[in-house]
Structure formats: C-alpha cells, structure tokens
C-alpha cells in the first residue's frame, strides 16, 4: 500500500533561520503520528508544509500520491482532504457555531444548506456540543471552542487531520475533553498527525512518535521504544525535561 503522506528531502528556512532540514517521512493510512520536540524545532512548520500554509523551499510532498509542488495542482482541492486544527482555534467570530461548521461544506463542497446542517449537527453531537449550535464563539470556553474547531475541520470529511498543538492554549482542566475527542477520532481510523506536548496522549494514542530538534527528525519509533528506551542522547535529554 502506498503511504497517504510522503515527504522527501523537505527543507525550509525563514531568512537565515533554517527551520526544516532534509525531512524524510512516510505516513500510512489510519496511522496516528505524534510529533514532539522542543519549541522552535520545526514541528509546526512541518505540519504547515503538509497543507501548504508554508511553502517548502526544497523537497517534495505527496498527499495520496499527488505532489503538492506540482504547479498545475490546485492546492484548494488537496486542502479539502486535509483538515487542520490550530492552537488558537481560529473559529470565525462573526458566525454562530453551526455556521462555522457549515460554511466550507456549503461554499467549497457546494452542499445544500440542509445537507450541511445535518452533517454539522451530527458532528456537534460527536464532540458533545449539540446545545451550543446557535452560540457564538466568544461565549465558548477554550475546550468547547477547540472541539467546535475539530468539528469544523471534520465537516469537510477529510482523509487526514493535522493538529497543531491543539491543547497548548487551554486551561489544564479543559485539555482532557479535547484529547478525548481526538482519541475517538483515532479509534475510528482517521489518519492523524499531532504536534503536542501531551506525552500521555502521545504514548497512549500514537502509533508512531517523531522526535524533532533543530529542524531535523532525530528519532522516529513506536511509543514504547521512544519513551522507554530512546536511542538518541538528545531524545533522552528532552524526555527527561518533560516527563
């Protein structure tokens, strides 16, 4: 089986600052890959290169066999297959919760409003927020907002979900409710890449853990291997600081 995501020799810098160096990565369908590492190690940039929110300078990225670097490729089409959840939620504040979820299915997928509404209600049920359908984002707690953001991304029925530090902006008591939704999603077989500092989640849900430092993948292995018996000194050092 071909990997759903394939990254070859990906490099990226912001000015003189090199953020990604020669990244090689393959992710299979239904895999949950968790990316950990110190801040500034390029984790988020790697994630953002996978839906071209950042433009790689060098290298190749394929999503379902389609090259993102192909000039003829319509990036909007690939983005409909790749959902993203942001640290800061980025809900649209001028729309109710349900309109946030319905917007893209209607405007991009051209669904009818009743079809989009049905899907939105189904997703709100899934993230446990049916009663908030008509609420505005400003009235939600951080945990609720992030669950709506997950529902909004899922409304496009993506094949891959990217999570960019989804719980880092949350009060500690709200982290659990968001991780629970993500765990359900993983159990349903969603292909996921999660950048996080939640080591418990990484160990429990991740099929594979990637440790990044200074724009490079230092180590990539199963959670047991990486957490209990890391091969590299740098991994060990990082884990001793966060665990």
């Amino acid at each position: 089986m071909n990997p759903i995501i394939q990254v070859k020799n990906l490099s990226k810098s912001f000015g003189a600052n090199v953020v990604l160096q020669h990244i090689e990565l393959e992710i299979e369908k239904q895999q949950v890959v968790v990316v950990i590492g110190p801040s500034g190690s390029g984790k988020s940039t790697l994630l953002r290169c996978l839906n071209l929110l950042e433009k790689p300078e060098q290298g190749e990225v394929w999503i379902e066999g389609r090259s993102l670097m192909d000039k003829k490729m319509k990036i909007e089409e690939i983005r409909t297959e790749v959902g993203m959840v942001f640290q800061q939620f980025n809900l649209f504040p001028h729309m109710s919760v349900i309109d946030n979820i319905m917007l893209s299915p209607m405007k991009v997928r051209k669904w009818s409003s009743s079809q989009a509404r049905k899907k939105a209600i189904e997703l709100l049920h899934k993230v446990g927020l049916t009663e908030k359908a008509e609420a505005y984002p400003s009235s939600l707690s951080g945990g609720q907002a992030q669950r709506v953001a997950i529902a909004r991304a899922l409304a496009m029925e993506p094949k891959i979900m990217l999570f960019d530090e989804p719980t880092s902006a949350l009060d500690p008591e709200m982290v659990g409710e968001v991780l629970a939704v993500m765990k359900d999603l993983a159990n349903e077989g969603m292909t996921m890449i999660v950048v996080t500092h939640e080591m418990g989640f990484a160990r429990e849900v991740g099929d594979e853990i990637i440790f990044m430092e200074q724009g490079q993948i230092v180590e990539k292995s199963s959670p047991q291997q990486l957490f209990d018996n890391p091969k590299h000194e740098r991994t060990r050092e990082f884990l001793s600081k966060v665990l």
Partner: protein
C-alpha cells in the same frame, strides 16, 4: 457694530440654502461612493504582492494625501475636466476631485481593516479548502468591514465639510450660497452661522447613522 441678528437675510436665502444643501449632499454622497469604489481597487492593489500593481497605487496614495485638496480641486476643474470634456463643469469637477481625494484615504482604511484581521482567520479558512476570494468574502471582509466603520465615518464627515471648498469653483452648494449672501448683504454672522448649523446637522446625522450601523453589525 450693533448686536442684531437679521433673520430676514436667512429667510430670504432659505430656498437657496436648501438647494445648496441638496447639492452639498449630492456632491458629498457621489464623492463618497465613487471614492470608496476607487479606494477599494487602490487598496487591494496596494496590498498586492506584485510590485507593478503596488507601486502605482502607493504613488497615487502619496500624491493625493500629500497635496492640498484645494489645489486638487483647482487642477481638476480648470485642467482635467476641460481637457476631457472640452469645457468647465463645476459639479463634475467637484465630484471628481472629492472622489479622487477620498479614494486615497479609503484605500488606506481598507488596507488597515483587512490587515487588522488575525492571520489565523485566513489560515483556518484556507485549510478548509477555500480559495483566496472565498476567504476574503466570507471570513476576512465581514470582520474587517465592521472595524472599518469608525474610520469610514471619520472620512465621510471630513468629506462633507471639505466639500465646502468647491465653492471656489462656483459649484452651487451650501458654502457658495453662504458666500453670496455674505457678499450681497455684507453680513458675516447670519449667512455663515446658518451654513455652520446646516453642516452640523448633516455631519451629526451621519455620525448617528454610523453609530447605528456599527451597533447593528
């Protein structure tokens, strides 16, 4: 000078003041509408990544913000309009000059409003598969317009007042009639205070309208 207020001058000139007010409104409103449309084009050009779009727009903004409106009115009236239509036309010149001038200011209002929206908003919209125009239309502009309203209000109020400058090219608006009453009766207070009162009514009504709009959005 004796302190007396000759209401008969105001009542004599009342029909002309009213007609002048209508012209003031018409010229200002046309200037605002045309200026806002032109400003939108200039504002987006100014935000373009392409230098050959950005540079001319920046030049335009500098030119029209950096020179007096009074001078622009004279050049448009005696120069541009004559060149284009072959004769002078005070109303056409007045509207054109005000619109060209307002475009430079509104272009900056659009830019500031759009750039004030957090990048995360457009990133989220892009990540949902929207094209650039959909991101603008459904996510960025609805939020940006709300933030632009106070700045637009300011600009519109300034424009109504500045429309009085076109009296110099004999466009028959409110200030023009106030000046004629002043010349005819050699009286200062009556025509100018009456004109001031009417300008205040216009700008204050606009102010209330904008507050209402801002609350409603």
């Amino acid at each position: 000078m004796r302190l007396e207020f000759r209401f008969d001058i105001i009542s004599d000139y009342f029909p002309l003041f009213m007609r002048g007010t209508l012209y003031t409104l018409g010229i200002s409103l046309s200037g605002i509408i045309l200026g806002s449309i032109l400003g939108l084009i200039i504002g987006f050009g100014n935000m373009s990544k392409r230098w050959y779009l950005r540079w001319p727009m920046q030049g335009y903004i500098h030119l029209f913000r950096g020179t007096p409106l009074f001078l622009q009115i004279l050049i448009v009236h005696f120069g541009v309009v004559v060149m284009v239509i072959g004769k002078t036309d005070a109303i056409v010149a007045a509207i054109t000059a005000l619109a060209l001038n307002a475009a430079a200011y509104t272009a900056e209002i659009y830019r500031a409003g759009i750039q004030s929206i957090d990048r995360g908003q457009s990133e989220a919209a892009y990540s949902l598969g929207m094209t650039k125009s959909k991101v603008m239309r459904y996510v960025v502009l609805p939020q940006a317009i709300k933030r632009m309203i106070p700045a637009f209000g300011n600009e519109f109020i300034v424009l109504i007042k500045d429309s009085s400058l076109v009296a110099v090219i004999a466009a028959p608006e409110l200030m023009y009639w106030a000046k004629s009453a002043n010349a005819q009766y050699t009286r200062i207070w009556e025509p100018y205070l009456a004109a001031a009162a009417i300008y205040l009514v216009l700008t204050y009504s606009l102010h209330r309208l904008l507050i209402y709009l801002e609350r409603k959005m």
